[in-house]
Symmetry: D2
Subunit: 344 residues, 4 copies
């Protein structure tokens, strides 16, 4: 079975394993107060062009999302998100378990827009009964989205402007950030994100690490006591250095960007292959996830050798599915899949 | 600096790193539904002598504690624990953050007793105002305790009996379980724990793993939907196989018990050394943590070469401190510490 | 100013005040353990035709909703509701503050249907990633809905059937239950609700009481420890007898049904008046709330003498508004409003 | 049965019932935005000598406590309270249900002291592991305490000083505030409380009202969005005017202070009677609660005609019990109790 169903099917980039082994018997302080975390945080501040950023290393994406949101909101406040957002759908109510509502805004493609946010705030929250409605305080977007779409600089800047105007925080879920930054046509980079978001995270789990997400916080109010909230939410790893070392390895010489770019290139190859074979795409994704619409008969045959995820039923005979590449994808596996397509 | 301040200062047993590297490019399903988790769970069931146990792999101890407790209690129920229990003191209110009170019972040595639990229930909770008091439903004990003490079979069996009588669940925090099981004089083993607790965990973070705790659940009501609660609490690792593989490595050929025993032997050597040098112990610990009472002047001198944790101020000139050994402790470091003592 | 903007603008039915005064100096046990609560609960069991029902008296609707839902759900479970449901919109995230998601189902008219619930469960929750999605356990409907619509016996019975099949609890918010039961064409009654819901409440605040909601619980699992959850959520009134006495007054001789019927008759008079004057209704409501679509110019003029609530902007020149009658509405005020319409 | 077991056994002061009846058919806005609430709040600001105070009317004490605390704390913060504090013992874990730990400080008499708070903060919270410990942010004291003790101006001023120094909020639970203010020897008054606390409440439920507590907030950060948190916690009464009117009645002409003083005088009479009959007091209370230590045989006999609460078992033959007076206590009932004592 060749797995394209997700981008967390393998372990870590070998360089990470090498350095874990190399440093294994070093003795360091626990809970992220070690040298590797310090250096990785420093590297991230440098890459973001802002020496004042708070940087914290957490284990997983759901954990990062609810810890940040719990730290950001007062009891009656809620997060705004697209109806297909990860926090709205795939985290078993993790944000709600911290006491906060996730208010979803309609979105055709899974992206929020500045106009949509403004309209929602002005129509829905700006009335006389506002005390009876959970109050929006944080806008959650993903870069890339669940369907691999990206925001442009202009879009993020516009959202940022609405956020400033309406007193909202902007938080970007970057579980697949590397693949987004490496996408063709993308104009967003780390300094831009750091300058326009109150917080965002650089995903490691899906981009070369064994596990780990690097949360970057620029909002001063969120920086102060964040480690207490991390500890409370089980998000402070005892051997925090494992996180620091991984992000240091990924970021100090550009490995993160390099492996992301390679994965995106393989995804493009797949994407072109599907198109060339006459299959439309369910969503336009310039990132490492490809969503072809395929006949069920073909899917049954492919599933004997390849794994993929189901995205949506399209009609009686066709289904949109997801193929992911990752830092670990082998080009020969991509070729095998494309060959299987041709023989179909 | 030679670190004795904690038992999570190094990485992992080299065999774990070897196997992580060996299996790195295997593609497995995520979220703990892989072969390694299945085999590790099966091994744990075998070691516990009970094929029906639920086994789940979580990342850290605080996370394991609050996830289990949140899954076990109804909204108005509380956990009973010793006043020095980890959940009562060192988890930043993590259990309370899930909505539940931790009710502490007095304890001279950090252990709960069957008689103490019974007395508390009968005096405190058995009155007419019970609806106004958080209702106890789960007894939390640690094996070993924060100060390295152990419960005997007889003590646990007696606690179990009270729990059955009073309709309480019994949960054992086993962050340092290996060191407890390996202690001189201990008569508890895995089958005994599995038979007498509703849930307990086999600590990995402090006993040879990079991270990870294996939660063993015997209570049927807790088994059913536990994975949903794990996901909600950020406790379901995307690459769950990392946990399965680590526990498989530790448990399939007895490595866990072997490295635990070695650490305990080194702790005994330290303990005897402190006693021989004329320093009393703050607490009797047959496990990997040693709590000598040392003059502050000596501590200042030791602290130039060795790290340790502060436990309690004893009098104007002496402090009780903690030295930990672990699976990673080098005998030469123990010898160096003892030599430094003699020269004092 | 004549107020039609809500149905909680006045105090209580005079008979309630009379009996509060009459019994004022009686000494009773607190927290709902008095004779009046016992008798009111007994009366409700009798009216529902089920001697085994749990009956509790709470102060307000939001409180009743979140207390019941918090008592009913395990941590990872959610409530299903219409997108316009009170718990989804107008309670400042109160259910989420207890840790639970409210999952909304699309609905044209604010009502849920058996088919809609079944389809949602089968399409959305019945897939392989179910552990990553909050699990539905309770269906919340309102009788009447926010827009005054009612469910028929057949509709509720069908929802009940889906609930039984899918292992869901059915809970009915009856903030305006009296007005629903008294509506023309309604075929639902208390015995029917008691037999088909796991819990529902008989609203007092909006139907003649100073405050208070009588929660009726038939599901055995919810009955056992409900008072503990009430106390924890601040929902156990110290002088509980105030609630018992009010419901006893309302229910023992049919006053609740009588005053509800009168309010509905006045609402019908209003409704016919709006129609006769050529104004369409935004929603068909046979209950005490009427939603005419009126020209903004008329609304401006009416608002000098009458208060009403804004429901929705309909087009550039017209707005749907809400006029409520209640147990306290004076027929002369209804006539004055209708006269004002005619003169418009 | 003559009830001395609590101070919430009767309804309300007749003047309150009279005004409820008088205003019953007035139409007012809901949710506390009516004229009576505005006037009562204004009166409280005037009595406190501070026109900038936030004033909110809630239904009950538990609700007031957890709503205020939930609004005041960040997720990882805790409240400090005496081990016998109402929030620590008698609210079914209501504060914990909002996610926050209640950290108890030892106290011989149920009072906290400035020195005790300072010592706890400096010894317990001021160490290197502070991120692992719930962080204190609010000091909770009761005036009077559960055992009827009072704080002097000097004591509160000293606590206030520690709070300012350690960045803690000071909150005073005034469920029985009237009885405390009316006590012999008391030197605290409303302006003093308003000037020294971040929030406190003027208890109505136990002091003449049907129900209701007037929460007074001086801390600017707590004032801003408090009504949203109230609504979320079910603490915003639909017919808020009932609360406003009751507090207006109690406070506008001094009725609150007058009835409190009368109850305290009757309690003193009781207290002196117990002493004269040779029975010691379990706690010195100058307020409306009296705690004599009585032989069990006498208690059995008294219990045929009088109700009282059990406070603590003192020895094999004696029990400390509680007799309460209230605004509603009849002097003849006090005399009957004293007569029963003499005949014993």
């Amino acid at each position: 079975m060749i797995r394209f169903n997700c981008d967390y099917g393998e372990g870590a980039h070998p360089e990470i394993l090498r350095r874990l082994a190399e440093t294994n018997f070093e003795q360091t302080p626990g809970y992220g107060e070690d040298e590797y975390c310090a250096r990785a945080a420093e590297k991230i501040r440098e890459l973001c062009g802002n020496a004042a950023l708070g940087v914290h290393f957490l284990v997983g994406g759901t954990q990062t999302n609810f810890t940040l949101i719990a730290a950001a909101l007062r009891p009656h406040q809620c997060a705004l998100a697209s109806a297909s957002a990860h926090i709205a759908v795939h985290e078993t109510g993790a944000v709600e378990a911290t006491g906060h509502k996730v208010c979803v805004l309609p979105s055709a493609d899974g992206k929020l827009s500045a106009a949509g946010i403004r309209e929602a705030i002005e129509n829905y929250w700006n009335d006389e009964t506002h005390e009876h409605i959970a109050q929006p305080k944080l806008v959650y977007i993903s870069f890339p989205t669940e369907l691999g779409a990206l925001y442009s600089r202009a879009e993020i800047a516009a959202i940022r402007e609405v956020c400033l105007e309406k007193n909202l925080l902007l938080y970007v879920d970057g579980a697949r950030l590397g693949y987004g930054l490496a996408a063709r046509g993308n104009d967003v980079d780390l300094p831009f994100l750091a300058a326009h978001c109150d917080a965002f995270y650089i995903g490691g789990t899906k981009v070369g690490a064994l596990f780990g997400e690097a949360l970057v916080i620029s909002a001063p109010a969120l920086k102060e006591d964040f480690r207490c909230v991390m500890k409370q939410r089980g998000a402070m790893l005892a051997k925090g250095r494992l996180l620091g070392l991984q992000f240091l390895t990924l970021l100090e010489n550009g490995l993160y960007f390099e492996i992301s770019a390679r994965a995106v290139r393989l995804a493009e190859k797949l994407s072109e292959g599907f198109r060339a074979a006459g299959f439309p795409l369910f969503a336009e994704s310039p990132t490492n996830q490809i969503f072809p619409i395929l006949p069920d008969a073909l899917l049954r045959r492919l599933s004997e050798k390849f794994s993929f995820a189901t995205t949506a039923r399209v009609d009686a005979e066709r289904t949109a599915v997801r193929f992911c590449t990752s830092w670990a994808t082998r080009e020969e596996d991509v070729d095998a899949l494309l060959a299987a397509l041709k023989n179909s």
